[in-house]
Symmetry: C2
Subunit: 277 residues, 2 copies
């Protein structure tokens, strides 16, 4: 999917919501647990209930990997079920030396046909480049994550060539990596829990899309991230996982998920109207 | 496996060799390709041929993940086949927010019963801690990797609280993370391609084991890393993948792998004799 196609979907649906398919086998409603593939059955119902309200789905791969080989089958069925016009994100946070990253790219872009994958930057350019070789596929590089541990290294002051070392590591990651690919292939993870840094992110990467976790359960504000982070192509994919997919645990879980997604979508429509005009 | 048990194996086998099971389906000898599970059959023969010469096996997970669900079956069979007294490393380079890292820990420590997993440090403490909750299991944190891209961020000058910012990011990662667990649960990845930094590593973590990739195909020197990196418990696991498992591609590939491993082991015996006395 191209950047322009993604923006078209955002305008059409009046939404920049990404639904996180972090499907925990232990949280699946009881009435689905006896089906042949409870994880896929849960995802299918969530997708049916939310597909017109969101522009992206993001399965976190850990939830599937924890289930062994059958988790990969559930993941593959889920990917095949997601409508073509919805952007798909493998939240995998992979990254390895070049010849190995190529294999991860094959796993997520060829075998599973994801549109994008999240990648960790620590190992540098040759660990990221293999994911950029396929036209139409995206890398979403971790920059400033939403968890408390993001302060440990991402906020370290680093040498930016000036005398005052005012640039944090995540800013160096943005500034260095944006030379590796255009904003047609590269996005960044920037957590909603750090609104104080969004402007600094936008100074370095004004045109890139940002994948924003941390709204909802982790405490980030949709209003704030939208006000500070939106650009002329929206430039935001705001993720919500638990607040939507576990909105309820009874037989009506999918309807409740839809209601939760609708609330977010309506708020997003307001911000699109307000900031994009 | 405890640190003491690992050291016992090193002394017994006169080896600190880790064999990387980076089993590429396209490089498996022709005569194995028609077996039911060529990846496992290849691994089984490599293990039979090298188990008395090495103290660790390290499958890089990308090679298995690229094969879809059946890759995970091959990986599980391989893990079950590795003798109990050999340390096992899931080279996965995972790391995510806390509740998600817990799931990766379950995948590799419970489902697959690995002794250890490689973890990327970028997301900080709460992304690493879930891997440290199980007694007898190890985290091997990326510090200074062997690939060219390691220079992009790992060697950035960072604020170390002094006026001259003389500490690189990888040194900050070592200094910060060593408080998260003892050297009975935590090792570090330090590439053999950077011998100039080994002494700086040892100044910060004198007692930890280091997992050392980059000898052989990537150009690192076993002699140099052994001289500079060995401590009183050896403290090194030196990995070799391609040079051993693809020593030959014909019917005698396992014998040739053994010969290649034997050469490395004999060199290691010399260094153990020389530096441990």
């Amino acid at each position: 999917m191209t950047k322009e196609e993604l923006f078209t979907q955002i305008k059409k649906k009046q939404s920049y919501l990404c639904v996180g398919l972090d499907t925990d086998i232990q949280k699946i409603p009881a009435h689905l647990r006896n089906t042949e593939d409870p994880v896929f059955e849960f995802n299918r119902r969530i997708i049916d209930a939310t597909a017109d309200l969101c522009v992206a789905y993001k399965p976190n791969i850990a939830f599937y990997e924890a289930l062994g080989p059958k988790g990969w089958v559930s993941l593959e069925k889920t990917l095949n079920y997601i409508p073509e016009d919805i952007f798909t994100i493998a939240d995998a946070k992979r990254g390895d030396i070049g010849n190995t990253s190529e294999l991860y790219a094959r796993a997520f872009f060829e075998n599973l046909n994801f549109d994008s994958i999240t990648v960790a930057p620590y190992m540098g350019e040759d660990s990221v480049k293999p994911f950029l070789l396929k036209t139409g596929k995206w890398v979403i590089l971790l920059a400033l994550t939403s968890n408390p541990g993001s302060a440990d290294f991402q906020l370290l002051q680093t040498d930016d060539g000036t005398a005052d070392y005012s640039r944090c590591l995540f800013e160096n990651v943005l500034a260095t990596s944006k030379a590796w690919a255009s904003d047609e292939q590269l996005m960044y993870v920037v957590g909603a829990t750090r609104p104080d840094f969004i402007q600094r992110v936008r100074e370095i990467v004004p045109d890139h899309f940002l994948l924003v976790p941390g709204v909802g359960a982790q405490g980030g504000s949709l209003a704030e991230i939208s006000r500070l982070g939106m650009n002329q192509h929206c430039g935001l994919l705001v993720n919500s996982s638990r607040n939507i997919i576990y909105a309820a645990s009874g037989p009506d879980f999918a309807e409740q998920a839809r209601s939760a997604a609708l609330l977010v979508q309506q708020e997003m429509a307001d911000y699109l109207n307000q900031y994009l005009g």
